[in-house]
């Protein structure tokens, strides 16, 4: 039997060989340990690449991107300046106005690992209400609990988290606005997905003078409102729909 060259072996691994050639390699694999090892190595590269990049498919799409695909009428509600987009880190908000930087040299990439600690530290004042996963922000702790359980139709004036609007977004996920009443007061939008409640936007709230943030919906900062407007398709849930959505696990 002729030795199997790298191109043929690679085509076999990538499913590009015709059936007869593939069968020839199948047969050879049974008694050729070296060939089996080469096939395994080629498969590992492919599998590791998929493992490295497939999680991107499950990440929430940043608002600044999905907003570009809104019908023109909806885009007018999106402010010219990007909202605080947690998905891309705090640098992303300024990026649109600067030149686009690309392709970090390997050294810079390695150096950046040191900044991880800073990124995590930065979120600690949230009292563990926010966690980072896959470069995205997700609700954690009491915020997750409130988003999972609390109903805007049954408000609890003493709860640390006030739920505002609930609705199904144009990408099919259920989203809810919320206000964190404990200082520093913040408001945001959470959208439910398999990994939890993704937080595409979270921003500071200026409390009305002397007032408390009891009315979650009316306290929404403009960037949160814009994120809602960019996603809202149809109506926000009424009390019955909100309860039904909760009972269905927000799917």
């Amino acid at each position: 039997m002729n030795p199997i060259d790298d191109d043929t072996l690679q085509a076999y691994v990538d499913g590009e060989l015709d059936a007869a050639s593939a069968a020839r390699i199948d047969a050879a694999l049974a008694h050729d340990d070296v060939l089996a090892r080469r096939v395994r190595q080629a498969r590992v590269v492919r599998a590791q690449l998929r493992a490295a990049f497939d999680p991107v498919l499950d990440e929430p799409v940043p608002v600044r991107l999905s907003a570009l695909l809104q019908p023109p009428s909806a885009q007018s509600t999106t402010p010219a300046t990007s909202p605080v987009t947690l998905a891309g880190g705090h640098g992303a908000t300024h990026r649109r106005t600067t030149h686009r930087r690309w392709f970090v040299p390997g050294a810079a990439l390695a150096a950046s690992v040191a900044l991880l600690a800073v990124a995590f530290w930065w979120w600690q004042p949230g009292g563990d209400l926010v966690r980072m996963q896959g470069g995205q922000s997700f609700a954690a702790g009491a915020l997750t609990h409130a988003l999972d359980k609390a109903l805007a139709s049954e408000p609890d004036a003493h709860a640390a988290v006030a739920i505002g609007l609930s609705f199904r977004s144009n990408d099919g996920r259920i989203c809810r606005t919320f206000v964190l009443r404990t200082p520093p007061a913040r408001a945001g939008l959470a959208c439910h997905e398999s990994a939890g409640w993704a937080l595409p936007v979270l921003s500071a709230v200026t409390a009305p003078e002397g007032g408390e943030l009891r009315q979650a919906a009316s306290a929404l900062p403009p960037e949160v409102q814009a994120a809602v407007d960019a996603r809202l398709r149809g109506n926000v849930f009424d009390a019955r729909q909100e309860r039904a959505a909760r009972d269905a696990g927000w799917r």
Binding site: F53, V104, S112, A119, M132
Partner: protein, 163 residues
């Protein structure tokens, strides 16, 4: 529905795949999303050029690949150092949940020459056939095959000690 609406609506379900491809090409989360933004803007501006019987994903992937090449050229002319406050994003993404081996692989991919990187991104990450990748890149299938084999050998060397 005019072609602009058709493209706009057709792109919505493609956004996750477009972001994955961009991540494989550009590396960093923020850079990749900048690329996606450029691609969406170009695709919408050129919606009239899209033939409805052509696959929208291949069409927009080709725009992404060309936009990435344009940015590479622009960057070649003026090298910008990364602002230190903006560097943490990919590391935060990679290191939070993924094994060191995948971070290593992503860095090895980022170090590949552009010709190799785009073939890896299209075939191994995005799952295009050799023929589809060849058409998109406007090169013969044999060129795709040989670039992919060389890229694979380089990436494999980074994983070799573990296999």
């Amino acid at each position: 529905m005019n072609s602009s609406d058709a493209v706009r609506e057709g792109l919505i379900p493609l956004l996750p795949r477009l972001r994955r491809l961009a991540r494989a090409l550009a590396g960093q989360v923020a850079d990749a999303d900048d690329l996606v933004q450029i691609v969406l803007e170009r695709a919408l501006a050129r919606a009239a050029q899209w033939q409805p019987d052509a696959a929208l994903d291949k069409w927009v992937f080709a725009i992404a690949r060309n936009a990435w090449r344009d940015e590479l050229r622009a960057r070649g002319r003026s090298q910008h150092l990364f602002a230190p406050e903006e560097v943490g994003e990919m590391a935060a993404d990679r290191a939070s949940a993924q094994p060191a081996q995948q971070l290593e692989l992503a860095m090895a991919l980022a170090a590949l020459p552009p010709d190799h990187r785009e073939v890896v991104a299209l075939v191994l990450v995005e799952g295009l056939s050799y023929g589809e990748a060849a058409e998109l890149l406007d090169v013969p299938v044999g060129t795709v095959t040989s670039r992919l084999a060389r890229a694979r050998a380089t990436l494999q060397a980074h994983l070799g000690k573990d296999t």
